[in-house]
């Protein structure tokens, strides 16, 4: 009996009228945990009841505490008939089970009903007293922390990264049980919600146990998914990365600058002594690493390449051992080999050397091989025994093995940025897994607290604080780069595989940064851009979209047809990606996510990634169009027109994304436009044969042009598709990664949003091309709408722009996206850019100094480098800059907190604003409303502002506490679709309600933001004829407390006050 759960029901408000006669409600509350139920008294005739109940106490096993949600039901008392349910609240008490997370849940939570939506709110207090249970055989795993964030959480450092954990549980879906025929939709929905709550609790507990077994204390990059398999059941599965995390002491100052920034001095920073007591500072094993890491670097960047993924063919080459060192080359060879052995042994002990993380502490990631992915098509059958989910386990096992072997083929020993997904249609299920093959440093993986671990582990911390201070914090890529002083920048691009034994056709050149190692011509990865990477210009979102029809079929035949289509689909997606990448003059993709969705009569493929120009990789060649039938003059002309268009687009894109790679002087004066001889008809990316590679190192830089031969309609279509992507409007950037490469100075204005579109294909006889166009237009239009909606935030960047596609039923395509728009200061970008040069120089000298000066140094550095510093000073040049012509600057609503807080800020902004046509058109002059506004005080508002973002950070703020994972599942159903505004009205309300519930639960935990938020499932079904619709949404994220940087600075002066300030930080 190791835990006591206590709950108190305080009050309700805004309850619905349940008694038409009196227009009032006689409400009471049932509080249920497990099988125990308590009730409050009936509070008669009120829509704002004050129950003020006693503390209801549940004495329970901690196992149950983890599995079960606390279930609160609000009812209307009825003397003569059955009591009517008003709605329910499920409270996940997991955050209370971990000492470092929340301690109490207290606040107004929306009362939710699956038929009516939110119906008022209830104020509750929930606490847990946990007794220690040291039983080794316990079934619970209380205290293991879970994070959705796919990087080391901001206020922790990784002592050790243990590796992959996975688990799945299955059950029958209540919706498909026989009883569903006789019970009400409400009962059925509630049974389902509850079941999923239970299953995710159980799943989390089981994963927690595995983590404890591995010796870890946390799961990072926790990704939980539902597979609604219909008749055959309900699968909840999760993967994550087990870590041992250590909380960083709250003083930001401890961090200071990365010690290892100077490669030469290396190792022991005595300064850290104070911080890490008892850590021996010998410099043993790390040396090789270090040498390796830093020896090679030059001011620009470098790159590596991509492996084309997908393919099943790769599994043909399970050459083991290939990983070790061939390419390591001269100097560092032996060291590298040594290192590899170490790491490898560490990794080989693991069944799957997979990491769900997408960004890593510096130094962790050594080389990237490329994307590895595997898919398999399965036929679902009923899960007979829920307690033995072996089939599903075996399926995933297969896929993971395949990934593992692909990885080996790429000469790598680990997979980073790993994720798994499914797509289900009737009884066919496509399982997919993908990640990026990589070689990792052993630093975080050895057993025993190596000195390295400690020292290293400090780095993330350094970065987080350092960068956060820089406002965007994320900005980091570059700014961190300087701070670090030695941008190793290119190492991760160097090929990990054997040059002479390349697993796939690729063209290698010497790294443009260090000129010592080979790099591929392009690099595709599923991770975020490493902070240390050297890039040129800015990045952008690149999407490949594809639609393929297929025949309706059943069972095995269907599965077969799908698996036959898959390779083609992947191939074409890949080609599209490659073309679009070249068209933008870029050479690498990060955050690649390929989603394949299956429907009855078609397959959809959507690949999204963020393209960048990695300085280390060679400049991409252009795209050459060639015709097959040169006889016809008009045709020739057509072709040359097209070529011209393409060339123009490339040139324009280079300008837009500021890609001016430092010209590589010596080499290649050859024509940047490919010579005709190269028309070797490569649709495939890599394509230049490998023997050619060996021939001349010098010329590799630019010689390869991508040739598109127009010999069939497909090619025409391809080119057409290439050119029809509408350009991003001025002032906007977009990416699907955490941060936009090349942008740093975020302001604190962020706007998270979810947008869903469903498109009906009425014309059944569409060809593939027709479908493609429709699908592509759908995505483009959605993007256009987003840009339009968010125009008030300009200049801004849409980050984490990941589309999720689905085929809810025949002829319907659903696209959902959850992303965040973050605005940034344009002028400061330049500023910063300029500064960076000087700065890095200066830094070199200052570095040690700064190191010791901690606070002072940090402050000065933040003033220097961070836009924030400038902003606050208010002296910066942007105020005058006439170049800002973005519409309705003044209109930006999401910066309102700041507007209230930092008056200076507002004023500055105001002065920049140029009136937009919109503003002019508005009938009420701004002046008037403003003056009126000032009369009023809204201080009475009791609703705390909760920010939400799919990213792992909040610009301009520092996360000081993680309160626990938010994982919520809701079902909403209606039988009066028309009355609720049709499907759009229905879903609009539902999504708004989900947001509201997430915010309320976060606020009740004491948090003021959700980071790494994602909507993992949005299943929408409608039946307009019956006036019915149903929708399921699953969301997750990490509840956190953040403080504004300005406050942090204030707080650091009075450390004790920091905590208090925090808790009510954004309270108003």
């Amino acid at each position: 009996m190791p835990g006591k759960l206590k709950a108190k029901i305080v009050a309700g408000r805004h309850l619905p009228v349940m008694d038409r006669a009196s227009d009032l409600t006689d409400a009471f509350v049932e509080v249920k945990f497990g099988n125990v139920t308590f009730k409050t008294d009936v509070y008669p005739k009120s829509l704002n009841p004050q129950w003020n109940s006693e503390w209801f106490k549940f004495e329970v096993d901690d196992e149950d505490l983890q599995d079960e949600p606390l279930q609160i039901t609000v009812l209307d008392h009825d003397t003569y008939s059955a009591n009517d349910a008003i709605g329910k609240v499920y409270i996940d008490i997991d955050p209370l089970l971990c000492s470092e997370a929340a301690t109490v849940i207290s606040g107004w939570l929306p009362i939710y009903d699956t038929i009516h939506g939110i119906r008022g709110e209830i104020n509750v207090l929930v606490k847990v007293d946990l007794f220690n249970d040291l039983n080794r055989f316990r079934q619970s795993s209380c205290g293991v922390k879970f994070f959705c964030t796919t990087s080391i959480p901001r206020c922790y450092r990784a002592v050790m990264i243990h590796g992959f954990v996975e688990e799945l549980v299955v059950n029958e879906d209540p919706e498909y049980q026989w009883i569903d025929r006789i019970r009400t939709p409400r009962a059925s929905n509630e049974a389902r919600q509850r079941l999923i709550f239970l299953m995710s609790g159980e799943l989390q507990r089981k994963i927690g146990l595995k983590v404890l077994e591995m010796g870890g204390n946390a799961v990072v990059g926790y990704l939980q998914c539902f597979d609604l398999e219909g008749e055959s059941g309900l699968v909840v599965r999760a993967i994550g990365t087990a870590c041992t995390l250590e909380k960083i002491s709250t003083l930001p100052a401890t961090a200071t600058l990365p010690s290892n920034s100077s490669p030469s001095k290396d190792i022991k920073e005595p300064v850290f002594g104070e911080e890490g007591p008892g850590v021996p500072l010998s410099s043993g094993p790390p040396t090789p690493l270090r040498a390796q890491t830093f020896s090679s670097f030059s001011p620009s960047k470098s790159y590596s390449r991509q492996s084309s993924s997908s393919d099943t063919e790769l599994s043909l080459t399970p050459k083991t051992g290939m990983g070790s060192g061939g390419s390591a080359g001269k100097e560092a060879g032996p060291l590298k080999a040594l290192l590899r052995q170490q790491t490898q042994s560490a990794l080989e002990q693991r069944e799957y050397p997979f990491f769900t993380l997408t960004s890593f502490p510096p130094g962790f990631l050594l080389h990237l091989g490329g994307v590895v992915s595997a898919r398999s098509v399965k036929l679902l059958d009923r899960i007979h025994n829920p307690d033995e989910p072996e089939t599903r386990d075996a399926w995933w096992e297969e896929i993971r093995q395949e990934i593992k072997s692909h990885t080996k083929a790429l000469g790598c020993h680990a997979v980073v940025g790993y994720s798994e997904s499914t797509s289900i249609c009737e009884e066919v299920c496509i399982l997919s897994a993908s990640g990026t093959a990589a070689i990792l440093s052993s630093r975080f993986m050895q057993d025993g607290p190596l000195e390295t671990d400690h020292r290293l582990s400090r780095q993330p911390l350094v970065f987080s604080t350092g960068s956060e201070r820089v406002d965007g914090d994320m900005g980091s890529t570059a700014s961190l780069g300087f701070e670090e002083m030695v941008p190793p920048g290119c190492e991760f691009c160097h090929i990990p595989y054997d040059e002479l034994n390349i697993p796939f056709p690729a063209q290698l050149t010497y790294c443009c940064c260090c000129r010592r190692y080979k790099v591929p011509d392009v690099l595709f990865t599923t991770i975020d851009l490493p902070t240390e990477a050297n890039i040129t210009g800015k990045g952008c979102l690149i999407q490949a979209r594809l639609c393929r029809t297929k025949k309706k079929a059943q069972g095995e035949g269907n599965a077969m047809a799908i698996s036959n289509l898959l390779p083609f689909l992947e191939y074409e997606l890949h080609t599209q990606l490659m073309n679009k990448l070249k068209l933008r003059g870029m050479n690498a993709l990060f955050g690649l996510r390929i989603q394949i969705s299956v429907g009855e009569t078609m397959l959809l493929g959507l690949a999204s990634a963020t393209g960048v120009y990695l300085t280390a990789l060679p400049s991409p060649g252009g795209i050459q169009v060639s015709g097959k039938t040169p006889s016809d003059i008009t045709y020739e002309q057509h072709i040359s027109n097209m070529q011209k268009k393409i060339n123009d687009t490339i040139a324009k894109n280079k300008e837009v994304y500021e890609i001016n790679p430092p010209e590589v002087v010596e080499e290649i004066i050859g024509s940047p436009i490919p010579e005709p001889r190269q028309r070797s008809r490569l649709f495939r990316s890599h394509s230049e044969s490998s023997d050619e590679v060996s021939e001349i190192d010098l010329s590799h830089g630019k010689k390869d042009a991508f040739v598109l031969e127009i010999d069939d309609t497909d090619a025409v279509e391809d080119i057409h598709a290439l050119l029809t992507d509408s350009p991003t409007p001025a002032g906007f950037y977009s990416c699907n990664t955490e941060i936009m490469p090349g942008i740093q100075n975020w302001t604190s204005a962020i706007q998270m949003f979810t947008s869903v579109r469903v498109f009906r294909l009425n014309n059944v006889n569409l060809t593939n091309q027709g479908l493609n166009k429709v699908f592509s237009d759908l995505c483009e239009n959605l993007l256009k709408s987003l840009y339009f909606k968010l125009r008030s935030l300009v200049p801004c960047c849409l980050c984490h722009l990941n589309f999720t596609v689905a085929i809810p039923e025949d002829e319907l395509i659903q696209v959902a996206v959850t992303a965040v728009a973050m605005s940034f200061d344009k002028e400061l970008t330049l500023e910063n850019g300029k500064q960076s040069g000087d700065k890095s120089l200066k830094k070199e000298n200052d570095e040690q100094l700064q190191f010791n000066l901690e606070l002072n140094a940090e402050m000065s550095s933040s003033n220097l480098s961070s836009p924030k510093g400038l902003t606050e000073v208010g002296s910066h040049p942007s105020a005058k800059a006439p170049s800002v012509d973005y519409s309705s600057f003044a209109d930006r609503c999401s910066s309102w907190i700041e507007q209230l807080r930092l008056k200076a800020h507002t004023i500055r902004r105001g002065s920049v604003k140029t009136t937009s046509s919109l503003e002019k058109a508005s009938p009420l002059p701004e002046g008037r409303s403003r003056s009126l506004r000032s009369n009023r005080s809204y201080s009475g508002s009791s609703v705390a502002v909760v920010r939400m973002t799919p990213l792992s950070f909040i610009p301009g703020a520092k996360i000081i506490k993680y309160l626990g994972i938010i994982n919520m599942f809701f079902i909403r159903e209606t039988t009066s679709l028309k009355e609720e505004g049709g499907v759009s009205g229905f879903l609009h309300t539902f999504i708004a309600e989900v947001f509201a519930m997430v915010r309320a639960h976060v606020a009740a935990l004491g948090g003021n933001a959700v980071v790494s938020y994602s909507m993992k499932e949005c299943v929408f079904m409608e039946n307009p004829n019956k006036n019915q619709a149903q929708c399921l949404i699953n969301v997750s994220g990490d509840a956190v407390i953040f403080v504004r940087e300005s406050e942090v600075e204030a707080a650091s002066v009075h450390p004790q006050s920091a905590a208090t300030q925090t808790s009510n930080g954004e309270g108003t």
Binding site: M752, N781, L900, L918, A921, R947, G985
Partner: protein, 353 residues
């Protein structure tokens, strides 16, 4: 091929002021899109349509909250920054002067609501917008009717309206409650703001709350006792000596200060009778309704036909008021002051040269 479903939901609810205004003005989605295209926000119809529909949906969802603005601040469904909330409320409760002029003083009943389409076609304000405005009046009226304390303050607190708007609503409520006649032809030259000003004067000086805001009763009704006392002023016109004395005092004081002294002298008795009679009749609810029309007929029109300037009117009324205090046999000084203060400022406001 068609878009079946299209939604956009922001964590911070995105609202476009321009679209909000179009919605408030009663435009349909399609009309709004056309207007926006004409306004040059963007050419692409599809994008605008999608955006406009989203916004309209959002506004519709917010509307029930706007009916009880206090709820907007503590509801959880939409995260709206305070300044936006204020904007939403303010604009929702804003009204067209043309429209309000039509219903001012009318009973806020179903019957009146039925006639709104006439009002709509007469004023050019869309019916939908008329209904919203009418419902706003009615809602405010209903809430305030039951409350004690100062009218303006009550409105401001319950509906979180800016000061000026709260005053305007107070005027509307006050007019509706007392059913002042404002639609007669002779009154048509007066704007809503003229009436609102007068209402403010009446509320501040002639209601029960004006004397003692701790009173149970509220600002909506005129102070009965005061109205009763007004009857005593009749002495000013019934007592001939007093009337002559008053006249000579006023004329002496005005000598040399105006070009229309002769007219003033000639009209003094008529004007004085007019004003005092109005006072004496106010005890009857029916005559209260005719208050403004009486002012116009009995005072403003005669002055205007004699070409008085506002300055003249002001001078005249000032001396007319003050001189009464010097009259030996006149005892009702406080009632006189309270009465004439309001009359004077109302007349000045209503006197358009």
């Amino acid at each position: 091929m068609s878009v079946e479903l299209d939604v956009f939901v922001g964590n911070t609810t995105i609202m476009d002021k321009e679209v909000y205004q179009l919605w408030l003005n009663g435009y349909t989605v399609n009309d709004a899109v056309t207007l926006r295209i004409e306004g040059g926000v963007m050419e692409e119809c599809e994008v605008l349509l999608s955006d406009t529909m989203d916004q309209y949906r959002t506004f519709q969802m917010c509307e029930r909250l706007l009916h009880h603005p206090a709820k907007l601040a503590n509801q959880l469904l939409f995260q709206i920054p305070p300044d936006r909330q204020a904007m939403l409320i303010e604009r929702y409760y804003a009204f067209d002067d043309l429209f309000v002029r039509e219903v001012l003083g009318k009973k806020l009943s179903k019957g009146t609501k039925k006639d709104l389409d006439d009002v709509s076609s007469k004023t050019g304000v869309m019916l939908k917008s008329c209904r919203r405005q009418f419902d706003n009046f009615k809602r405010v009226f209903k809430v305030v009717e039951e409350l004690k304390g100062p009218l303006v303050e009550n409105i401001r607190q319950h509906f979180l309206l800016p000061d000026q708007l709260a005053r305007d609503y107070a005027a509307i409520v006050f007019f509706a409650n007392n059913r002042f006649e404002t639609g007669k032809k002779k009154l048509l030259y007066l704007t809503f703001q003229d009436f609102a000003f007068c209402a403010g004067q009446l509320i501040n000086n002639w209601t029960l709350g004006a004397v003692d805001n701790m009173m149970e009763d509220m600002d909506v009704d005129l102070d009965k006792e005061f109205l009763q006392d007004l009857k005593d002023l009749k002495i000013l016109i019934t007592d001939k000596d007093l009337l002559d004395q008053h006249k000579s005092l006023v004329c002496t004081a005005l000598r040399g200060k105006t070009n229309v002294l002769n007219e003033m002298e000639a009209n003094f008795k008529n004007l004085s009778r007019g004003l005092v009679n109005i006072a004496a009749k106010l005890i009857n609810a029916k005559d209260v309704r005719d208050f403004f029309i009486d002012l116009v007929e009995k005072f403003i029109e005669p002055c205007r036909s004699d070409k008085w300037t506002s300055v003249d009117v002001n001078l005249y009324l000032t001396h007319y008021t003050n001189s009464a205090h010097i009259l030996d046999t006149f005892k009702h000084h406080s009632v006189w002051t309270r009465y004439m203060g309001v009359i004077k400022s109302c007349i000045l406001k209503m006197y358009h040269e």
